[in-house]
């Protein structure tokens, strides 16, 4: 703020401060700086989580961790009998688990499910900063990998080969063993899809950068977003579940309508 030049005379200074436009200018400057700082902050978290996360954020994260996560994961995130160690899971894992509401866990069950997010974005960032400060791990994805402008055809092929056996070709989800399931990918943010691929939450395998390159991950996200943003060309998709929902629809609504019409056509007129 010191860099802004001010009029030199004391009288002029006073007049400048009282100038009708001065409050407008102050607000503009304030907005410019907070916006700029925010932009700088967000890009720096995207590129590398260490540079912008100050010691203060880590401290905040530690407090949040102790209050909300340590019961199961241990005070030093070392893990306990009821929760795994979080050393080395990285910011991506925290952002996915907490950012989709899976953590903190609400109850025991076959798997942690998506639910209402329990923390603000700042709190999630603080938790992520704290956990990633313990040991290096997968960081948050760069923004350019999430721009949904990759090669959808390549993404679709990779998705069919690597993901469709659990998540279904249209990302509608599918069953796993013992009550676990691969959730539907409809409405999941690009960032969370990317983080899930990198960290392999719960039953999901890890798809590291050697396995599927970051660019290919971008393609997969592009494909999923294509499916999400383009309605099915054939009309209502019946949940994209395949022949089961088609058959059910046919028997209940198709044949149901036909039978109703046969009853109508053979009804005796009054």
């Amino acid at each position: 703020m010191t860099t802004i030049k001010k009029p030199k005379s004391p009288g002029g200074r006073k007049a400048g401060r009282r100038h009708p436009l001065s409050s407008v200018a102050l607000i503009a400057i304030g907005l410019l700086f907070t916006g700029g700082a925010y932009a700088a902050f967000s890009t720096s978290t995207a590129s590398a989580e260490t540079s912008a996360t100050s010691q203060q954020t880590i401290g905040e994260g530690k407090k949040l961790f102790a209050a909300n996560c340590a019961t199961c994961h241990g005070l030093a995130a070392q893990g306990t009998g009821s929760g795994p160690s979080l050393i080395g899971v990285g910011a991506a894992s925290v952002d996915f688990q907490v950012g989709t509401g899976r953590m903190p866990l609400q109850m025991n069950g076959p798997q942690a499910e998506k639910k209402a997010v329990q923390f603000t974005d700042e709190q999630i960032a603080a938790l992520a900063a704290y956990v990633s400060s313990l040991a290096p791990g997968p960081g948050l994805p760069e923004a350019k990998l999430l721009d949904e402008k990759g090669d959808a055809a390549n993404g679709a092929e990779l998705f069919r080969i690597n993901c469709a056996m659990c998540h279904n070709v249209a990302g509608a989800g599918g069953a796993l063993t013992e009550g676990k399931y691969a959730p539907s990918l409809d409405g999941v943010t690009s960032k969370h899809i990317y983080e899930a691929m990198v960290t392999g939450p719960q039953s999901m395998p890890v798809f590291n950068d050697m396995n599927i390159t970051p660019e290919s991950k971008r393609d997969i996200i592009t494909y999923l977003k294509y499916l999400e943003n383009n309605p099915s060309p054939g009309g209502y998709a019946l949940g994209s579940l395949g022949p089961v929902s088609e058959g059910l629809f046919l028997w209940i609504f198709g044949l149901g309508a036909i039978v109703a019409l046969t009853v109508w056509i053979t009804a005796k007129s009054n």
Partner: protein, 539 residues
């Protein structure tokens, strides 16, 4: 009225009638069609909604033929690899077979193509479903009895052929889903001992998937199977005309007559209109609801399998049978693998199909009834048949539902192991439970009918007699209603009789045993004597 106007009117009527008459006469003189029209036009059809189900099947078949012809103009049944260059972005530049590529072109680049594909597929699902429902109606009303046993067999073969048509069609686009379906068939074929592998190689022209199968399935799908189906439908309908239509029991309806409307003019108009209604329903479904989105499945590649991979509904029972088989049923003997996890479903489904196919003959043998039957049974009046039907439906339904075990697991939030275990139980025990319940319900309903015939309806009106006694007034049933309740054929268990040599054969014993099982528990129809007596009791 002046004479001039009359003459013009006369001339006009003569003119319009004249042309029709001349044309009709021209055709009749050359084809003698009037005999057929006279015969068919006066054919009486009874009116009941359940008699239209077969018609629905026929109409869906017509829709399938029409839409299918459109599709053949653009489909290329070749497995030659090409690079897709159509307008669906997420498949651009992907290598696929010409079959898949042309299916995608039909869906995205040919005007009306996607609609026609969806019409074809929805109509196919409706076709098989309508046949299924039609068959259930025939079964539960006993319409397969003499003289219609052969028509039951033809109809059932049509059902099997419809499934074959459906499956070959499902495989043609060569997308991931259909390829996986073919892979399962390939696996089942290879599971047959000794000859399985040979048959598979013969079928696919080498190792699966090869480059021949789509072309071969296409020949079957558009040439051989439809030709057989059309021929069998013609026979099926011819038999319907020859046998006359069956009718539900009712006053004035006998084995000798048919109560209903003549084909011309009302019935034909109704039936013709009904075709357009069915077409309309199929069109609505096809234009509003996606079916088989091959663009999601992508080209076939033997490695990926999607979650929720199922066949179309009518093959579901076979898929379900495979899912139900517990693991660990493969044995190696004499250097050959015997896959009982394939053989058990194959054999049990084969037996099931065989029993359904020959059921009319089994029942005729058990009852020993050689009379013609043109009056339908109310299902309750044939308790054992209805119960067998209920058991069969339960068995089929359990297998069918198992094909969607994974979808049941995710959508009802249960474990897939639990679903499979439940369905295993339902498949094996469910039919017995269904048999018992259905039989008891039928007998109870028959008892209720008897009660109503003898004592009338409970009217709910309580009357105090002069002596102080309270009675509830029963409303006697009217004669038309009563006819429905008392006129059914009743069977008694057959007695074992020695044959000409004075011996009781094992076959005789089996037949007597079956007959006892069929007719031991029965409620006899009310006789006129009983009716007379009951009139004395009340009022």
């Amino acid at each position: 009225m002046s004479t001039t106007t009359t003459t013009t009117e006369l001339v006009e009527t003569k003119k319009s009638g004249g042309l029709t008459a001349v044309a009709a006469n021209y055709i009749d003189e050359r084809t003698s069609i009037s005999t057929a029209v006279k015969e068919l036009g006066r054919k009486i059809f009874p009116d009941h909604w359940s008699f239209l189900l077969g018609e629905v099947a026929l109409y869906s078949f017509v829709i399938i033929l029409l839409s299918g012809s459109f599709l053949t103009f653009f489909f290329s049944a070749s497995m030659t690899p090409v690079l897709y260059d159509g307008s669906y972005v997420p498949l651009k530049g992907v290598e696929m077979s010409a079959a898949m590529s042309s299916s995608l072109d039909i869906s995205f680049d040919i005007r009306g193509g996607l609609l026609m594909r969806q019409v074809h597929h929805w109509a196919a699902l409706l076709f098989v479903a309508a046949i299924g429902l039609h068959m259930l109606r025939i079964y539960f009303t006993g319409a397969f009895r003499k003289p219609r046993e052969l028509n039951w067999v033809i109809g059932f073969i049509l059902f099997i052929l419809a499934m074959a048509e459906g499956f070959t069609g499902y495989s043609l686009p060569d997308d991931l889903l259909s390829g996986n379906g073919l892979r399962i068939i390939d696996g089942m074929v290879k599971g047959i001992p000794l000859i399985g592998t040979w048959i598979s190689f013969l079928l696919f022209g080498g190792e699966f998937p090869g480059e021949a199968i789509i072309g071969r399935l296409y020949s079957l799908h558009i040439l051989l199977l439809p030709a057989i189906i059309v021929a069998l439908i013609a026979m099926h309908l011819l038999f319907v005309v020859v046998h006359k239509h069956t009718q539900y029991p009712g006053a004035g309806r006998t084995n000798q007559n048919v109560v209903g409307y003549p084909v011309l003019p009302v019935y034909a108009a109704k039936a013709g209109g009904f075709f357009f209604i069915v077409f309309g329903v199929v069109m609505l479904m096809a234009s509003l609801f996606t079916i088989n989105p091959i663009w999601n499945y992508g080209p076939y590649d033997p490695s990926p399998v999607s979650a929720g991979t199922q066949p179309d509904w009518y093959i579901g029972f076979a898929d379900g049978a495979l899912r139900l088989i517990p693991p660990g049923l493969e044995f190696v003997w004499l250097d050959r693998t015997y896959s009982f996890n394939i053989l058990i479903p194959l054999v049990s489904l084969g037996l099931f199909i065989l029993v359904v196919l020959i059921y009319p003959f089994i029942e005729a043998w058990v009852t020993g009834d050689k009379r013609e039957h043109h009056i339908l049974d109310r299902p309750r009046n044939a308790p054992t048949r209805t119960a067998i039907g209920a058991a069969g439906v339960t068995f089929y339904a359990a297998l069918w539902a198992t094909a969607s075990s994974d979808i049941i697991a995710t959508h009802f939030r249960v474990t897939i192991e639990g679903v499979i275990l439940t369905m295993q139980f339902l498949t094996l025990v469910g039919p017995f439970i269904a048999f018992f319940i259905a039989k008891r319900v039928c007998l109870a309903l028959q008892k209720k009918d008897r009660e109503i015939v003898l004592h009338g309806y409970e009217s709910g009106r309580i009357v105090r007699l002069p002596g102080g006694e309270y009675i509830e007034v029963h409303q006697p049933i009217d004669e038309y209603e009563r006819w429905k309740l008392v006129s059914y054929s009743d069977y008694k268990p057959l007695m074992i009789r020695p044959n000409a040599q004075g011996k009781i054969t094992a076959g005789q014993k089996l037949r007597a045993g079956m007959s006892r099982w069929f007719f031991e528990d029965r409620i006899e129809p009310v006789t006129s004597t009983e009716l007379e007596q009951s009139h004395g009791d009340h009022h």
